[in-house]
Symmetry: C2
Subunit: 115 residues, 2 copies
């Protein structure tokens, strides 16, 4: 497996969707759907990249990056995504917040290789 | 300890700073500085909230929320924060990305308590 790294992105402006969620205990089909939806999102027009991390206590953050508002709206209306969101509210999430934000500035850093 | 939950936030607009970073192996003073800086950030004018999660492979996401550009700039110029950032590039991070984004819309969900 490749070393972990933040998603590579073009120059701003573009959009970030920050999804912060606390999982309920147990899997209940979550992992399989999560994996499927990550692949599906990556195939959508305007998808730029995604980073995700989850803590042992169940709180996770997923940040997906999109070209514009239209690509976010189209993904929101995708039938399989809409179904998963409804299932998420019923079963997988104790709480969540979703932020749609326009990225104005971005910086990156990669450690120089050791000599 | 309280149950985990996403940071409670006011109505948009406000700003999100998304910091996605891959840690180098070992602690090297990271945990202590991280804890100290989280407390310090929370005391700054314009700080609205923060969520953070890190994966076992070292990739972590910290999203801090701020009232405006001015409060982000003031925190950026805080001497202890600037010192920690320099130390981070020297020691703690293999790579990172930082996004400054204006939150245009936000939604929250909390599971209704079981009957």
């Amino acid at each position: 497996m490749a070393d972990p790294a933040p998603a590579p992105l073009p120059d701003p402006p573009y959009y970030a969707v920050v999804f912060t969620a606390v999982r309920t205990p147990g899997d209940d089909g979550y992992e399989e759907t999560d994996e499927r939806l990550l692949k599906l999102a990556a195939d959508q027009p305007g998808f730029l990249g995604l980073d995700a991390a989850r803590r042992a206590d169940g709180l996770g953050i997923t940040v997906s990056y999109w070209r514009d508002e239209e690509s976010i709206a189209a993904w929101r209306e995708h039938a399989e995504h809409a179904l998963a969101r409804a299932h998420g509210r019923e079963h997988w999430y104790a709480s969540y917040s979703l932020h749609v934000a326009k990225v104005e500035r971005a910086y990156g850093f990669t450690r120089p290789a050791d000599q």
